[in-house]
């Protein structure tokens, strides 16, 4: 289906590191000159770890039950689907009864819902937010945009496959999926978690280099540490 | 009006005249002259106060010592006047010396020119 003019070749130029992240020299109050490498000094460089399951299966199952019944969603709307998530809190859908609630900080959230198309710029933020969530963590992609690009299939600035960049546990199809579909997606996700298959975070850690390569391929101005703790 | 009163009045008049002159003339030489006038006035007053009518000057060459106490005027003011005149002379001389040097320094004898020290 290459129905395009192949004469066009994209240019791949290196984007220089941003000013504030470049190593610099600073004079201390005592008059010494010290070197500051922001990426090393200000950010933790450790790679993500693969966290094993609990030693005992019963305990792990118990934990998984708890995880399934206490899904805390990061309140981060990336695209048009964000508007479909709001009704979930209303009396009509009332997602709370399933132990689902929204948290404003990634540190306390377990589920990242990518609610629609992801521009490259937003992808950067989504990656950061995802990496800052504690394990185990889950990603849910909403709508065709996250699945195959959807109507943005030819956009110069929108990714087409979310699972290239983040380990997706559950896709909910539709453009956009309605709240009912979303609820169904949550239920499915809970099932997956209860079955102990919600190990996206470990998968991410295992295939970290590959994910990073994918991410860096589209985010040209990679201006953050490799893993955002 | 007795002689004493007359000389007293003259003396004070001279003093006032001198002071008036000294305080109104800006020229330093005129001021000095005015002060001399005032000094003279003071001396007149001095003598006038010590004058006793009908007595003579306290010069013991002409008057027997024994009678001196009753015939001469009070000798103290006379002595004072002499001293005062001498001192007045000294001060006047000094002022003139100053006037000379002031003129040398500034080329002017106007007292209001020498106000660089103030406040």
């Amino acid at each position: 289906m290459k129905d395009v003019d192949d004469k066009f070749r994209k240019t791949d130029t290196e984007v220089p590191l941003r000013e504030e992240l470049r190593p610099r020299k600073v004079t201390t109050p005592d008059g010494q000159e010290i070197d500051i490498d922001p990426l090393r000094d200000y950010f933790c460089e450790a790679k993500p770890k693969v966290h094993p399951k609990a030693y005992s299966k019963i305990v792990e199952d118990f934990y998984n039950w708890a995880r399934a019944n206490s899904l805390w969603i990061l309140g981060f709307g990336t695209g048009c689907g964000a508007i479909e998530m709001r009704p979930l809190m209303t009396p009509r859908f009332d997602a709370y009864r399933y132990g689902i609630q929204w948290r404003p900080t990634p540190r306390q959230a377990n589920l990242l819902v990518i609610s629609g198309y992801l521009s490259v710029k937003t992808l950067k933020r989504a990656i950061r937010a995802y990496e800052q969530m504690p394990q185990p963590k889950y990603v849910m992609g909403l709508g065709s945009c996250t699945i195959n690009g959807g109507m943005y299939w030819d956009s110069y600035n929108t990714i087409k496959r979310l699972d290239d960049y983040l380990p997706v546990d559950m896709y909910v199809a539709g453009c956009m999926p309605r709240p009912e579909a979303l609820l169904h997606g949550f239920m499915e996700l809970k099932r997956v978690i209860r079955e102990g298959k919600g190990e996206g975070a470990n998968k991410y850690a295992e295939n970290f280099d590959q994910y990073k390569a994918n991410q860096k391929a589209v985010i040209k101005d990679w201006d953050m540490p490799d893993y955002n703790w | 009006m007795s002689l004493v009163q007359l000389s007293l009045a003259t003396g004070f008049l001279l003093i006032l005249l001198g002071l008036y002159g000294a305080l109104t003339n800006r020229d330093i030489i005129r001021m000095i002259v005015s002060f001399t006038i005032a000094d003279t006035g003071v001396n007149v007053v001095l003598v006038a106060v010590g004058y006793l009518p009908g007595r003579e000057a306290p010069i013991l060459d002409t008057i027997p010592v024994a009678e001196a106490a009753s015939r001469i005027t009070d000798p103290v003011p006379q002595a004072l006047v002499l001293t005062a005149i001498v001192i007045g002379l000294g001060v006047t001389a000094l002022m003139l010396a100053y006037a000379y040097r002031l003129f040398r320094a500034r080329g002017s004898l106007d007292i209001s020119e020498f106000t660089e020290l103030k406040w």
Binding site: F62, N69, S70, D94, R97, P134, A201 | -
Partner: protein, 305 residues
């Protein structure tokens, strides 16, 4: 062991029992309160055991980070504040079991120990380096300076009234009839103190320190997993412990666990009811509120004792 009069090891067991009861009570009660709120809104609401599930989930989280020693100790301070507060206050009047370690001090100890956890938490949040944490702390501290004032005045009026600072004695003086409660013998002090109560329960309209969605959630922005678990525990324990103080001081205390449960629930509901119908105050608004209402009430209370 002169410092611990009549100390027996079994007291520790009783204290732990009190703690256990109160924590579980708090877990269920807060969930029930939320459920009531949901029902009022026409929703089904969370299951009553949701708090346990959340707690378990947070403990079960696998990866954790630490921003430093003080960050690590923050929740420890917080929970110690909550548990300590409970330990320093007699829970059930007349019960030898549930006097805890209240002989260590009196009302003043309890009032000042309230700040122990707050301070530690603020320090921990501070070390996380998150500006929103610092903003939350700044707001919270600014608000608490005025919010605690009516309580201090009310308590002063109260201790003048009873001539003692000993909580047990104050409870004892309120026994006999419902009209012996401070609520009826000294309504002004009670109202003043309740203003402070509402102001320090971290519920709307006085929740600007947390301000969910605005500065994400204020001080605990960086806290997660087991830190958060400790804080959740405190979150159910501490309001109850604080309510116990109010109950003891103004509402005749409790002579049994049943009375305890009812009174704490009712008192807690006061702040909930006010919270659901009022939007959030900004800091300066709430400070002015306390200056305008809490302070005069407190002044009146101590002038009329």
């Amino acid at each position: 062991m002169t410092a611990f009069p009549n100390f027996e090891w079994v007291q520790i067991a009783y204290a732990l029992l009190t703690l256990f009861i109160v924590i579980n009570y708090g877990m269920v009660m807060t969930a029930v309160v939320r459920k009531i709120g949901a029902r009022v809104g026409g929703r089904y609401g969370i299951p009553v055991w949701q708090n346990y599930v959340d707690l378990l989930k947070n403990i079960a989280l696998r990866s954790k980070i630490s921003h430093g020693v003080m960050y690590y100790l923050g929740p420890v301070f917080r929970l110690t504040g909550g548990v300590g507060l409970l330990m320093f206050v007699p829970t059930i009047y007349g019960s030898e079991w549930h006097q805890n370690f209240s002989y260590a001090g009196d009302l003043i100890l309890a009032l000042y120990f309230v700040f122990f956890g707050t301070l530690g938490m603020a320090l921990g949040a501070g070390e996380s380096g998150h500006p929103h944490s610092a903003i939350g702390v700044s707001r919270g501290l600014a608000q608490v300076t005025m919010a605690e004032l009516p309580l201090a005045l009310g308590v002063y009026a109260l201790s003048l009234q009873y001539g003692t600072l000993d909580i047990t004695k104050i409870v004892a003086a309120q026994q006999g009839s419902i009209f012996n409660w401070t609520l009826f013998t000294n309504p002004l002090a009670t109202v003043a103190a309740m203003v402070a109560f509402v102001g320090t329960m971290m519920r709307s309209p006085f929740d600007v320190a947390m301000a969910p969605q605005e500065i994400p959630i204020g001080p605990p922005t960086e806290y997660h997993s087991s830190y958060l678990a400790l804080m959740q525990t405190n979150r159910v324990l501490f309001p109850v412990a604080k309510t116990v103080i109010y109950m003891n001081l103004f509402f005749g205390g409790a002579t049994s666990w049943a009375e305890f449960a009812i009174k704490v629930f009712c008192l807690y509901m006061i702040s909930v009811v006010i919270g659901v119908v009022h939007p959030r105050f900004r800091v300066e608004q709430s400070i002015r509120f306390f200056l305008k209402w809490g302070l005069p009430l407190g002044v009146l209370a101590i002038l009329t004792v």
